[in-house]
Each structure stands twice: as C-alpha cells, then as structure tokens.
Amino acid sequence: MTRDAIKDLVLEIIKDIDEDADFEALQADQPLRDQLDLDSMDFLDIVMELRKRHKLQIPEEDYPQLASLDSCVNYLEPLLKNA
C-alpha cells in the first residue's frame, strides 16, 4: 500500500467512526485526537478496524504511534507493504 493509500484508509476509518468529521483543516503532523474531538474510545475503533480489515495486531504499547496522520502512515507503511 502506498503512503497515500494508507492515509486514505485511516481517514476512511475515521469517517466511519464519525461521519461529521471535518478533514478540511486537518494538519497531518498534529494529534488527531485534539483536531477531530476523538477520545480514547474512538481511538480503539481505529485499531479494531485495522485488525478487522487488514488482520493487523497492534499492541497496546504502540497506540501512541497512531497519534497523528503522519505517524499513522509511518507506523503502518511497513506493516501494510504487501497489502
């Protein structure tokens, strides 16, 4: 999967969690949580969706690596390289 495809995947998952999420002003290097009003419960949904769609097991200690859109892409790129 390309970096752009991974980015789209993450945004699509977020859209699925909150259909009113507004990506217009989203800054890719800033925490998703603050910008989109997501809480830790919503965050778990991103992890669960990645598991469901791509059989990815993300250990709890790696959750901080999903903080911003950029860090998501960096973290997921090697894991999804064959996807």
Binding site: D18, D39, M41, D42, L44, D45, V47, M48, R51
Partner: protein
C-alpha cells in the same frame, strides 16, 4: 457450544457490551434469566397496556454536536445513529424541601445557577468554587473514597443547600447511605445538572428493541429464560458456564452484569465480608384519565422531595420512608405525543428485610403494598395537589418485586455500596460490568458495558 465472549445479563450494560463486541466479532452470546431484556429498565403488560419499569428519565442529555459528551460517545461506540432516535428533553424539575426551600432546574444549567444565586445569595461564591472543582475533577482516574458531603459542606457552608443538591443525585444513582464518593458525585452532577434529563420517543420497549435489532443485525445471539447455575473455573481461569438445564457453554471471556456478590455466588467462592446496607426502593405507578391533566402540573417533569427537617437517604427501619422520594410525570417531557392517559410514578426508600419478613404471609404482604400506595398518595398530594380520586389503575413494586424480576440482590437497584471500577474481581478472563462496576443510569450502565469490553477484551484479544 463455544463462544469467544459470553455475557450474563441482558440489561442495558450487557446489551451495550454485546453490541460493542459484535461490531468486531459476531460470535457473542447473551444469557438472560428473564423472559424479557432490559433488566432494571424493562416493561410489562397489564390490561392490554404497556407499563415501563425503572425508567423515569435518562440522564446525560447532550445536543448532537457535542461529540465528547457521554451520550454521543456511547452512540458512536455502538454505531447507532443519533438521528435514528427522537429524544424529548425534560421541561423543568424541582428539588422540593417542604417548608424549607424549592430549587428548580432544567437542561439549561443557568436556571439552577440563578436559583441558587437568588435563594442562597451568600452561597453563590461557594457554588462557583464547587463548579470549578467539578470541572477540574477527573472521576475516571482511580482514587480512594472521598466524601462528597464533606467537600460540599466545606465549600458551601450551608447544610440545607448541600442536602438539596445531593437529593436528586442520590435518588438517581447512589448505592451508599447519606453520602457519595466524590467521583460518583461529579459523574452524577454532570449527568443531571450540567447535561440534563430526557426520554426517548415511544416507550423503553422501543429503545430496547432498537438495541436488540442492532445487536442481532451484527450477528449476535441472545437466549432468554437462560439461568446460569454456576460458572466453571479452575482458580483464576473461567472455562465455561453451566445453565440450570444442565447445558454447558464454554467461552474464552466472560462478562458478568449480575452484580459482584451474585457473581461470586455463581463461582461458588466464599462471599465478601459483611457489606454496608443495600438500599431498597418501592415504586408506585398511578394512572389517571388524560382529562385530569388540567388538575395537575404540566410543567414539572420530576420532583425530588423531602418533607422532614433533615433529609435522610438511608435504609429505613420499617417498610417504607415516605418522608422523601421522587415524583415523575412521564408525560411531561417536551413535544411528547398526547397519551390516552396521565401517569404518575412515585419512589421512596424501603427496607428489604421488613418486606421479606412479610413475604410468607401473602395477605399481609398485599395489604402492606396497598397501604404503601395509599401513604405514597398522601405524601404526593401534599406537594402536587389531589389526584387520588381520579386513579383508574395503580400498581406497586416492592424490593421483593424488583429482586424477583431483576435478580438484583435484596432488590437494591443501585447494587452493592462498594463498586469495582475497573471491573476486575481477580479472574483472568471474567470481568464485571453494570451496576456493581459503578456507572449508573441508562447511559452510565451502557458506557460501563462498552468500556469494560474496550478495556479488558478488545484491547487484549
């Protein structure tokens, strides 16, 4: 039969937990002892008419755009669309302390704030400090018990105001006598005063049916009239549950919503050391013809009242304490469709032991129920005016009724006074959710189910 997740109890916490898990793995089974779902918030039929149990109002109202509000977080977690529900907000409610003071509040917090400034002008600065404490407090952080009453007395320095603020919060969610844990107080203060009260369109049955449909569409299964005889375990590891019909269902994880002591009994391990008293309640439902509406308030949704000099939220030493309670008008929410009848519900504190002592003598028990309805009417009429001459139907639930239909020990709707906030009762793959985990109310209990699944099961499996 084997399931990755087995849930005991089809009340609101069990249903919410089940939906949450089924979103990612449909292999989940709920076992419900009763022939109907809902637990404490359910319904029954009499005279071809549906009667709700439990529900007065749902707390934690929030408009759709407040994404971080518990109600909206909950709906997102369950993948339920806010627009699929119609919610009716309360009109106005009162805290009515006879011969002392009355405070009105609504879903607009400014009303309560203004009431306090007008009626307790000298306490206004203290109240502002209290609001700041509530704003800054994180009730979800693990903390030792801290007395909310002590903090309120120091901050407000006015026992009457302290009792008046505690009264609704205790009646709608305290398992503890005469005090609350500060964390629980903050949760309830936000839920009732800062967020507010509402009810769904239709009846609790429609609400439950929506949840059940969501669950079943995700592929989840439920069995009604399925009673757990025992939980089979080897030390800390649960392997299966055996039903009273002998069937054994194995599971990877077990979530119990039936209460802490009730779960220990199913595990056949020693019970907890003697606990503080559980609080029992009686509730009467009175129905009147719709035409009587003019004679009674149409502006008040709920009245929390106290008529004694000192408000007591404690187990009475006799059947019922009529000196305080809650009066609910389920028809007085904003923009409700006109109903063919007018309903009134009255709740008071009751003593399980006194009712239990009457149980063997059916005639005496029924007489006490009827006497309870009578005394309750008298207490209510002093506050809302006469209505008993118009009653066409009435029914009364005692702590024994509640115990029988919900299996809550001693009919204590708010469960054990000591909560297990992390749901961990010392087993590897068994967790507690619902009443004894400690988030109370309909939104609270559902969030309890969701957060226990998130914390212990989804993030680990």
């Amino acid at each position: 039969m084997h399931v990755p997740l087995l849930i005991i109890g089809g009340g609101l916490s069990g249903l919410a937990a089940a939906i949450r898990f089924a979103r990612f793995n449909p292999d989940v089974l709920i076992l419900e002892k009763h022939s109907r779902i809902g637990g404490l918030n359910s319904y029954y039929y009499r005279n071809n008419s549906l009667f709700e149990t439990g529900l007065h109002a749902i707390t934690n109202f929030a408009p759709p755009q407040e994404k971080a509000a518990p109600l909206n977080r909950l709906l997102r977690q369950l993948k339920l669309k806010r627009q699929d529900f119609t919610f009716h907000e309360q009109i106005k409610s009162d805290i009515f302390f006879s011969n002392q003071e009355i405070l009105s509040f609504s879903n607009d917090f400014a009303l309560l704030h203004q009431e306090i400034e007008t009626k307790f002008p000298r306490r206004a600065p203290g109240f502002s400090r209290l609001l700041q404490i509530i704003k800054d407090y994180d009730p979800f952080q693990a903390a030792a018990f801290r007395s909310a009453r002590t903090l309120l007395l120091t901050t407000l320095d006015e026992p009457l105001l302290v009792d008046m603020l505690l009264c609704p919060l205790m009646y709608y969610g305290s398992s503890l006598e005469n005090d609350m844990d500060l964390g629980q107080f903050v949760i309830m203060f936000r839920a009732i005063f800062l967020e507010g009260m509402f009810r769904p369109e239709g009846s609790i049955k429609d609400f439950l049916d929506t949840l059940l449909k969501q669950y079943q569409e995700l592929g989840g299964k439920i069995r009604l009239q399925a009673t757990v005889a025992r939980i089979i375990h080897q030390d800390r590891k649960i392997s299966a549950v055996e039903l009273t019909n002998g069937e054994v269902i194995t599971c990877d994880n077990l979530l119990s919503t039936i209460g802490h002591e009730e779960t220990l009994a199913a595990l056949a391990v020693p019970p907890l050391p003697k606990q503080r008293p559980r609080l029992g309640f009686v509730e009467s439902i009175f129905r009147l013809p719709a035409g009587c509406r003019q004679n009674l308030t149409q502006e008040k949704t709920i009245i929390f009242f106290n008529s004694s000099e000192k408000f007591r939220y404690q187990r009475p030493d006799h059947l019922v304490d009529f000196s305080s309670g809650v009066i609910c008008f389920p028809g007085n929410f904003q923009d409700l469709k006109a109903q063919p009848f007018l309903e009134l519900r009255a709740t008071h504190l009751a003593d399980y032991g006194s009712w239990k002592a009457l149980a063997a003598d059916r005639a005496a028990y029924l007489a006490a129920k009827s006497e309870t309805a009578g005394q309750s009417k008298l207490a209510l009429e002093k506050i809302i005016g006469n209505f008993s001459q118009d009653i066409v139907y009435e029914d009364t639930f005692t702590p024994l009724t509640i115990e029988r239909f919900t299996a809550k020990k001693e009919g204590a709707i708010y469960g054990c006074p000591d909560k297990i906030k992390n749901g961990d009762i010392g087993y590897d793959n068994l967790f507690l959710a619902g009443t004894d985990q400690g988030f109370l109310g309909i939104v609270g209990s559902m969030l309890s189910g969701v957060s226990m699944i998130n914390q212990h099961i989804l993030s680990r499996t």
